[in-house]
Assembly symmetry: C2
Homo-oligomer: 112 residues x 2
DNA sequence: TTCAACAGTTCCAAATTCCCGAACAACGGG
DNA sequence: CCCGTTGTTCGGGAATTTGGAACTGTTGAA
């Protein structure tokens, strides 16, 4: 398996970030990772709300979040540790993450 | 032609807004409308940057922006006047529009 | 060393969404 | 009316997304 790609801060693109978070499942996953601040295995999200997410889809979702620069994924033994890159995104696009997370908090994405 | 649908402020959904603005063409259109504050005919955007946008695609883009609640479209004679709904969105999701517009200003979407 | 269990990834085909040319509808001016 | 102009709708091909099945890597136990 090839090493996972993580964009640098300078490579962050608003369209990739917005696209990544425009999906309710990904938004829910990211919200959780950002809240916990750190370390969530992918399998933690085998279901979001009451909806079951197949693991191949989960893997894709994590890839999109990762390549948008929103999370960092590192192998830790048999599982993956996903940590939020909020501080880096904040440095590049001030206020963006806070506003998006706040918006979703007002209207939970799980509602569908 | 049936009347155009505009969501009320309470109906605004973060995922729809992020999806609408995750497309560079739509982001460019919306940025322009938001900057001018008002009144832009669809045909104003027959090209974005150096890229030509077919009018059927343009129509779709405007529909997505409209149904996300980002713009209001009203027929004015033969053309359409599109005005930004930023103040309403701001009331519902404080800071969101400003942060997104600022992010795109740092990394112009036309760059691709 | 070999094996089983587990976490994720990759592959690929079906479903969905997106794109854009062509036809259509609505309005205003001669 | 009949045009010219503006924008919407329709339909089929392109691109993206989805998810089951097979595969890769890692750990721990026999």
């Amino acid at each position: 398996m090839r090493p996972l790609f993580h964009p640098s801060v300078e490579e962050l693109r608003p369209e990739a970030i917005l696209h990544a978070l425009s999906d309710p499942v990904r938004a829910a996953i990211f919200t959780d990772i950002a809240r916990e601040g750190c370390v969530q295995a992918c399998s933690t999200f085998a279901s979001v709300g009451d909806r079951v997410i197949p693991k191949s889809s989960l893997s894709q979702h994590f890839k999109i979040l990762r390549e948008a620069g929103l999370i960092r994924s590192e192998r830790q033994g048999v599982e993956m540790r996903n940590t939020s890159r909020c501080p880096e995104v904040e440095a590049r696009f001030p206020g963006l993450m806070a506003a998006i997370l706040a918006a979703y908090q007002l209207v939970p994405p799980a509602t569908r």
